[in-house]
């Protein structure tokens, strides 16, 4: 990988990464403290969990954690599933590896490095994942607004991540069935129906 993740891979970050992956592996059923207990005594560099973590095809473990956190800020768990419940982090890794071309991959990687550096700079050197949720959310918002306001060649990192998050979430079973009225077999098309008479929102893709 590029030196992108060197900016975000101090030992603490690795440790968090392991915790997060452990939580996904366990399907989110295990609380963070429980996961922490599981991992107690593990040094980040020994990585017993990394070996068992989902195979990453493009992102480094540290990058995955940042991307997962961004996805979670954009689509958090509420009374319905969030991006991480729906498997969005692994989806993003797979899309970057297999669907995106080299130019887009490079744009993502360099954009990631800029994002990580910018996040740390905005928090007196504290890496993105070490910040509290409020700070992280604020930085993601800022990054989005900046990207949306700028004229750029190719979609910038934060908007790529956003697009992939939305796509991954709203093509997942949880994302579709918990947020939309999905009918696999609608049987008939009605062209003009008052919303008041519809279960909403209808899945039309």
């Amino acid at each position: 990988m590029s030196d992108a993740h060197d900016d975000t891979s101090p030992e603490m970050l690795e440790r968090r990464a392991i915790l997060r992956r452990a939580a996904w592996m366990l399907g989110g059923a295990v609380s963070a403290p429980a996961a922490l207990a599981i991992l107690q005594g593990c040094s980040a560099k020994q990585t017993p969990v990394t070996a068992a973590a989902p195979d990453l095809k493009f992102l480094s473990p540290a990058q995955l954690d940042v991307v997962a956190e961004i996805a979670d800020i954009m689509i958090p768990k509420t009374d319905t599933s969030g991006a991480q419940d729906a498997g969005v982090p692994a989806f993003i890794d797979l899309m970057l590896a297999d669907v995106y071309d080299k130019a887009a991959q490079d744009r993502f990687s360099s954009g990631f490095a800029q994002f990580a550096a910018g996040a740390a700079l905005a928090a007196s050197g504290k890496p993105f994942l070490e910040q509290n949720r409020g700070q992280r959310t604020e930085f993601v918002k800022q990054a989005l607004e900046q990207a949306l306001g700028a004229k750029q060649d190719g979609k910038p990192f934060i908007l790529m991540t956003r697009e992939l998050t939305l796509l991954g979430f709203f093509t997942s079973q949880a994302g579709i069935t918990e947020n939309m009225d999905y009918e696999a077999v609608p049987t008939i098309y009605h062209g003009c129906v008052p919303l008041a008479q519809m279960k909403k929102p209808v899945y039309w893709e």
């Binding site: 954009m74 669907v99 949306l148 956003r162 093509t171 696999a184 919303l195 929102p201 893709e205």
Partner: protein, 561 residues
């Protein structure tokens, strides 16, 4: 006992081949259907019932698929849900002297599985145009001659649509039309009031109601899933796999052989007729000759012309039946230089339910009646109004619970539409064979060179300006008219390579799709078209194939073939 002799051979099992198989077998002919691709039986549609989350990559194409299928994927048509119906371009190369999008489906059913199902008659305006304007060769068939065959194929296939009484787009035997949606209904009204132009619901081969006959018991009504391109286990749309091939099979007269690449017609110089075809097995390379009294070439415009160009003999040194020098020439498609979009204010309290496998259609109005332009012919638009879905939040700053909430509301309405313009036949738009370059079967490569020319370029100005004019007349906002580059072939309507005409010196086929110089060979796919209208052509291929089959059997009975 295995035999290589049949009454009839049909080459290709798609839109036209399916019809040829059905008609010939129902009239009692022992018929061999040869398909170059793999077997597909009705119901064998691997992705047909997959939910969105069962498809990999959010249904986006991978780099690996792009690498294997660079031509297919550059058009944007294939997705993981349907990519198995599109050929591997590396295994099936051709030479593009000019960019040419050759979309191909090598399997039983061909592109009848993937087609967009839009089904329009050509009318008197289309059949008379070449003669009136001195373009190409006159059609040897009138609308009145073909109309009963349109009736027949519409009734069997099941075409939904509305009766409109338009001279330029004759009505047919229709199942009930799909609904226009709320925005489209108002768009229609405003176009009519302000510009005197019609907007109608698309006419499509989806069963909006049960068929009016009982010959296709395997077919049920359309379930409004809009996944037709994957193949429909309900039989809700017409394909040869769901419709004509099962009918042919039921007669007991059809032998269907997949993986058989027909590369040559066998010509008997003494008898002055074709005796059969030469075939390579796509998997083993084994060569076989099959024999029959008549041969129907239904291998697509490029495919059939390829076989004919590759069939040389002392009688036909320049390709089978090519006394005119027109074989492989006059390639047409529909010019599609970009789509137009607009946003729609209001209508926020209404939407639609179900997924309609159809859109609206604005029939041709240019050079119709008193309208006269500085170019010949005209164009039609296909489009739809819809409410935006989650992707509208891609370039947006909303996050968190607010974003989830916002996605749960239907988005604003937008309208998009695309013009399809007639391309005139031009001798220089052609395909030929390069015998120095071979594919993996050792067969020469097809070379294609076709471009849009002056008349099409002039027409494009109207295609774009009129789109903006109509969207603005309807009161829509943010009207955008795109100029996309168009490669010939991109409308997947390639045609014209063996045109029909009364004069054998200027055309390859006669009015019954028979090769002028060899009457027991019929070509009934898009090859035969002497001009191309702006309507989607498949319905015409069905009608002309059924008519040709009827003629073939009558001539056989008279001992003329």
């Amino acid at each position: 006992m295995e035999t290589n002799s049949f009454d009839a051979i049909v080459v290709g099992s798609g839109m036209s081949g399916g019809w040829a198989a059905k008609e010939l077998t129902e009239k009692g002919l022992k018929t061999l259907v040869l398909e170059r691709g793999r077997m597909v039986r009705h119901g064998e549609y691997p992705t047909a019932t997959k939910d969105p989350w069962d498809l990999p990559y959010g249904n986006r194409i991978t780099q690996e698929t792009r690498r294997r299928k660079p031509v297919q994927t550059r058009t944007g048509y294939p997705t993981p849900a349907n990519q198995h119906w599109f050929v591997d371009d590396i295994d099936n190369p051709y030479v593009e002297e000019q960019p040419f999008d050759w979309l191909r489906g090598y399997h039983v059913g061909g592109r009848s599985l993937m087609w967009a199902r839009q089904s329009y008659r050509f009318g008197p305006l289309d059949f008379e145009a070449n003669a009136k304007e001195g373009v190409g060769v006159p059609w040897p068939v009138t609308y009145d001659e073909i109309a009963p065959w349109y009736d027949k194929v519409e009734t069997f296939a099941g075409i939904s649509g509305s009766v409109e009484g338009l001279y330029q787009l004759p009505d047919g035997k229709f199942l009930p039309p799909h609904d226009l949606n709320c925005v489209e209904v108002d768009f229609k009204k405003r176009l009519d009031e302000k510009l005197g132009r019609k907007l109608i619901i698309g006419r499509c081969a989806n069963l909006t109601a049960p068929l009016t006959h009982s010959e296709s018991p395997q077919r049920g009504t359309c379930q409004a899933r809009n996944m037709c391109i994957r193949g429909c286990p309900y039989g809700g749309y017409f394909s040869s796999v769901s419709s004509t091939l099962p009918s042919a099979e039921r007669t007991g007269n059809m032998t269907l052989k997949p993986n058989q690449i027909v590369y040559e017609l066998i010509y008997d110089n003494d008898k002055g007729r074709a005796t059969g075809v030469r075939v390579l097995d796509a998997e083993t390379g084994k060569q076989t000759d099959y024999f029959a009294k008549i041969v129907f070439l239904c291998a697509s415009a490029m495919g059939s012309a390829y076989i004919m160009l590759n069939s040389t003999s002392s009688r036909f040194p320049n390709g089978f039946g090519n006394d005119s020098g027109e074989l492989g020439h006059n390639i047409m498609d529909h010019n599609k230089p970009g789509n137009s979009n607009a946003s729609v204010e209001g209508y926020l309290d209404v939407a639609y339910t179900g997924r309609r496998p159809n859109g609206f259609y604005i029939p041709r109005y240019r050079n119709v009646g008193k309208d006269k332009r500085d170019y010949l012919r005209g164009f039609g638009y296909q489009g739809r109004a819809q409410r935006a879905t989650f992707s509208r939040f891609n370039d947006n700053a909303l996050i968190g619970a607010e974003l989830k909430q916002a996605v749960q509301e239907p988005g604003p309405w937008n309208v998009s539409m695309t013009a399809f313009g007639e391309i005139l036949p031009h001798h220089d738009n052609h395909m030929r064979l390069d015998r120095d370059k071979k594919d993996k079967h050792g067969l020469p490569l097809l070379v294609v060179n076709a471009v849009v020319r002056e008349n099409e370029r002039k027409m494009e100005v109207d295609m774009k300006n009129d789109a903006a004019e109509m969207l603005e007349a309807a009161g829509f906002k943010n009207v955008t008219v795109k100029s996309d580059s168009y490669n010939v072939g991109n409308s997947i309507h390639e045609s014209g390579t063996a045109r029909m005409g009364a004069d054998p010196k200027k055309s390859v086929l006669n009015k019954f799709n028979q090769v002028h110089a060899c009457k027991n060979v019929f070509v009934t796919d898009g090859s035969f078209m002497p001009s191309f209208g702006c309507q989607n052509p498949s319905l015409s291929y069905m009608a002309f194939t059924a008519r040709a089959a009827d003629h073939a059997v009558a001539e056989l009975k008279k001992g003329n073939l």
